[in-house]
């Protein structure tokens, strides 16, 4: 019985803490409403820099002074830790959004046995590197990598590539139709309830600007096509790399 009473107390504490943050959050939201009135603001929270809030707008991060006077947009680094704090925070956000897509809305190519890694690939049936990637699907699986596809027809909703994606989704043998389409075969036109438009919109929210765009399980954006062995190496080294080339 005691537990039942503890719970509301914790909730009160949490809501008080949130209430204490509100004036700065409100100032930040007011700034964004003025600067980017049409943009969707997902998150407003304290930034790592004292005196600043950070907000996720679209798939980008902006930093706003608590008094609402100044805004910085770009990549924030922690110099001592050599860490890209913006990338790390966006990865958390992107992971939550990508993870929210259930397996039933993905086209999954999994290795036999337990996969070592899972990647989520935003794909377009008509893109060259997407096709190249899928032509090697057996090798990715052999390296222990599960490949989950989400559709991102680059030319947009209701484009020919979009219609193909819907037809593949609605085919009786979905993965067979997917693989055939990746090999250049035009899928038999079909229509049904499908997640293609939602996945396209999701892609826009997590900063997909081309295909394939590949996310690791921690939400970090790996980028585009990599051959199977390099993909494996990349996944093994995630989190270690900083500021390549410098």
């Amino acid at each position: 019985m005691k537990i039942r009473y503890c719970l509301p107390l914790v909730l009160v504490a949490v809501s008080l803490a949130q209430a204490a943050d509100k004036p700065e959050d409100a100032a930040a939201r007011a700034v964004l409403k003025e600067v980017v009135p049409q943009a969707r603001v997902d998150t407003v929270e304290a930034a790592p820099i004292p005196g600043f809030r950070q907000a996720i707008v679209g798939s980008q991060m902006v930093y706003i002074s608590n008094d609402g006077q100044y805004m910085l947009q770009g990549t924030l680094y922690d110099t001592a830790a050599r860490k890209d704090l913006t990338g790390a925070r966006l990865a958390v956000d992107h992971k939550a959004k990508v993870d929210a897509v259930p397996a039933s809305k993905r086209i999954v190519f999994a290795p036999e046995g337990k996969p070592k890694y899972k990647i989520t690939v935003f794909t377009d049936l008509d893109c060259g590197y997407c096709r190249k990637l899928h032509s090697q699907i057996a090798q990715y699986n052999k390296e222990g990598i599960e490949v989950d596809y989400l559709f991102f027809p680059r030319s947009g909703i209701n484009s020919p590539s979009y219609d193909k994606a819907v037809s593949v989704w609605c085919a009786k043998d979905r993965s067979g139709a997917f693989t055939a389409a990746k090999a250049g075969k035009t899928p038999t036109p079909a229509k049904c309830d499908n997640p293609v438009a939602d996945e396209y919109k999701l892609g826009q929210q997590v900063g997909v600007d081309g295909t394939p765009t590949i996310f690791a399980q921690d939400g970090s954006k790996i980028g585009g096509y990599l051959p199977p062995a390099e993909m494996l190496a990349k996944l093994e080294n995630l989190g270690k790399a900083t500021l390549a080339g410098n």
Binding site: S65, Y77, T79, R82
Partner: protein, 246 residues
Amino acid sequence: MRFVLFLSGLLLALGVSAATPEDTVRQAMSSLAPKVKIDVVQDSAVPGFYEAIVGGEFIYVTKDGKYVIDGNAYDVAHRVDLTASSRARARKDALAKIGPEKRIVFAPLAPLTAKHTVTVFTDVDCPFCRRFHQQIAEYNAKGIEVEYLFYPLSIHPGADKKAEAVWCSSDRPNAFTAAMAGKDPGKATCPNPVGELTELAKSLGIGGTPTVLADDGTQIASQIAMSPDRLAAELDRLAAKNVAQN
């Protein structure tokens, strides 16, 4: 030896307590990009930050050196793009040091006088630079003096040699106009500013050609700069704005 060690330790301690803005920025960048060239360090209009130009790009560094933002800063309250105005000022200062002896000048002929002067980074092998120069009489007729600085891009192999040949010809403006019309300028060599100007352009973050800068260092959007009418109107507007602010 001990004494020397003690002394240098003391100096280090002093150095920490009296770190100059340059030291702070260099220290902050040493972990992120140790080889990068740091050109200008100054107080940012954003309280608590230094503004620096590293490798031609603006960054913002917290005064304690803990954080770096690679991006743009805005004064929301006054609706000022702080990075753009700092960049314009840095470019203006740098251009002030480049005398007429390093430029190829096309001034309005008497009785016309120059109302405005633009500095144009140009490349003999760039199509839009050629199109710009085809209209040189019209720019001059609008009262715009055009001062060219050579910036042969590495994507145009041999353009640096052509720039040098133009520079070293006995009739420089005519050789320039001929080269801009596609004529081979030959292979003349002599002491010339092409290399220096190329380095200058890079350090100012100038990414392409033609890049047209107004008197105050403001970069003119290319769709405006390519039209003599629109460029004249834009220069009038900028001049009026600068009078209002000074």
